[in-house]
Symmetry: C2
Subunit: 325 residues, 2 copies
DNA sequence: CATCATGATTGACAATTGTCAATCATGCCC
DNA sequence: GGGCATGATTGACAATTGTCAATCATGATG
């Protein structure tokens, strides 16, 4: 992005204050402006990501639960937020941690795919501004036409804005009414290109959808309750980027999936770093399916989920990962 | 590194204060300690890299000079510190900027090679603490036996300490008295292994040595003035990781180079990201040789050097890069 | 068991920073 | 040109933070 003249002075103030450790009045004197302005510039510098203040997320990885989950499911890294709930807003803990982990995982010049969901939206909201260079954020799944508040394109754009990246949205509905139409739309060059570009991602961010009555796919109107029950009877256990997966993580063979426009599951699996975020306990079964399908390399989860996963591990046999000696 | 119990509370305080934006008194209340302790913990968190405050270095890349140098020499990125000299300590500007750029270039899990020199040492000194994960810092060249203050192993260890990395030193002298001895020592498994591990580096950090009477090679006793003059007559134009290079960037064929124990120049060139730092004007000729030899992908330099390089570019023909239409 | 040394913790005060209403510059429109 | 809207800048005060001497634990030692 181009540098406005006013950025120049903000940058200088930030450099002197944060990097060289001068006091605000010293910075003011050196730049020949009032101290109040310095304070103002510094705030802007923080807000725009010219200055980046980040707290290490290591603490949350040192949790014993996190370690055991990593081992049991063969994940590269797991972060579990504390049981106690440090803040007044326990619901915000997972997205906040996830946002920090996500930022740590991005590198300059990388391409990042994001799906959507309440959690991902909350993450975007909690994410601090950072000034990466050459980062691209691509949308992993189609949009929902409804005036639903957590739209995939909004997630993508907001995250792109926060990390100073280029956002690559794609404007197709998530679900169409017919298989045929979906196929035709997928073949459209604009859409095709976008879907293909997902293969080149270095990092993916998504949550897993559950299949409750108040799950995301229902709330956003992609499915009716009846359709959902039918899918569950057919073996659906979770939702990844809008697509139904079975307990073994495979794409469920069903009419619904054929009507969806979204990242190919194989493409998602081909992305080297895949961060999954889960908050509510209802996400446990979908998570296990996602692990089984190899969709996840990095996980941020609540303490409640951590405990359920541990129980699952201890129950022995069950998990697909138990097959991994 | 293992987490001491006391780190836990420091980390929590930092998380609440920096990530959740609570005030110190709120943090104190929540953790049931005095606010004075919170202030203390926060300071420690900053000092240990639990909290990372970094200022974007983009400003220094937006300099017109920087852009032109990038283009002319085909470098990926160039940073030039401002002419004016923002701080009271102009000599510290280049190392400080370089330290920040260097930290931005490191990624978790990467292997970083560092050579040494006054500038590199000053960088280590100006570098803030960061808590990377799985980073290894390897020494690129042999040591100097003399009680010289900027020893290669010190640079390596200090940088490793700052970025929370494992340091891989190697204890061989930089220059030996005979070709034969150097060859034999290079063949020793301990040394061989270390030298080979350089190939696996993701990032290299070094300066280029000049060939003045007060240059590093002289000051540290690697060469006498007479030997240096002889080498210069033979075509030596700069020093990279202890080795003499000619104007075209090739390793000078000379007795001295055969007596040196250091990273193979081809290995250095094979490292994907190669950050070169240069401060004094005497470094211009060595820099041009380094560019010619393809040793540099990223450059941090003083305004004075920037200007000299520009003049060189404008002089037209000269540069090897001029051949790059 | 008393004594001392060491390091963590705190209360109280000083220093620094954040904020906001008031003022100043700038550009636009009539 | 005058009036007006918009946004930048500042002075002055309030809020927050840094510091340090004093106090409190802890554990080692005679």
């Amino acid at each position: 992005m181009a540098v406005r003249a006013t950025d120049q002075i903000i940058h200088k103030a930030a450099w002197l204050y944060y990097t060289h450790g001068l006091r605000q009045d010293e910075v003011a004197r050196r730049l020949e402006i009032s101290r109040a302005s310095v304070a103002l510039y510094l705030r802007k510098a923080r807000e725009n990501g010219i200055v980046n203040i980040s707290t290490s997320t290591h603490l949350f990885r040192q949790d014993v639960t996190a370690r055991r989950i990593e081992d049991a499911f063969g994940l590269e890294a797991v972060w579990i937020v504390g049981r106690e709930g440090l803040t007044a807003d326990p619901a915000g803990e997972v997205p906040t941690l996830a946002a920090n982990v996500f930022l740590e995982m991005i590198g300059n010049g990388e391409r990042v795919g994001v799906a959507w969901g309440r959690t991902v939206y909350a993450m975007a909201d909690a994410m601090s501004y950072a000034d990466f260079e050459g980062v691209t954020v691509v949308q992993l799944c189609g949009n929902l036409g409804a005036p639903y508040s957590y739209r995939p394109d909004q997630c993508t754009m907001e995250i792109a804005r926060r990390v100073n990246a280029k956002g690559l949205n794609f404007y197709a509905p998530l679900v169409l009414s017919s298989d045929r139409l979906a196929r035709e739309l997928r073949a459209e060059p604009v859409i095709r290109e976008q879907l293909d570009s997902i293969d080149a991602c270095d990092l993916a961010l998504f949550s897993v959808g559950s299949l409750d009555a108040d799950s995301h796919v229902i709330k956003c109107g992609a499915l009716t309750l009846d359709e959902l029950s039918a899918l569950k009877r057919n073996g659906a256990r979770g939702v990844i980027a809008g697509q139904m997966i079975a307990a073994d993580g495979a794409l469920l063979s069903c009419d619904y999936n054929r009507r969806v426009i979204s990242a190919d599951l194989a493409s998602i699996r081909a992305i080297p770093k895949r961060l999954v975020v889960a908050q509510e306990e209802a996400k446990v079964a979908p998570l296990l399916a996602a692990f089984a399908g190899g969709f996840c390399t990095h996980l941020v989860a609540s303490a409640a989920i951590g405990e359920r996963l541990l129980e699952h591990i201890e129950a022995g046999t069950g998990g697909p990962a138990a097959a991994k000696p």
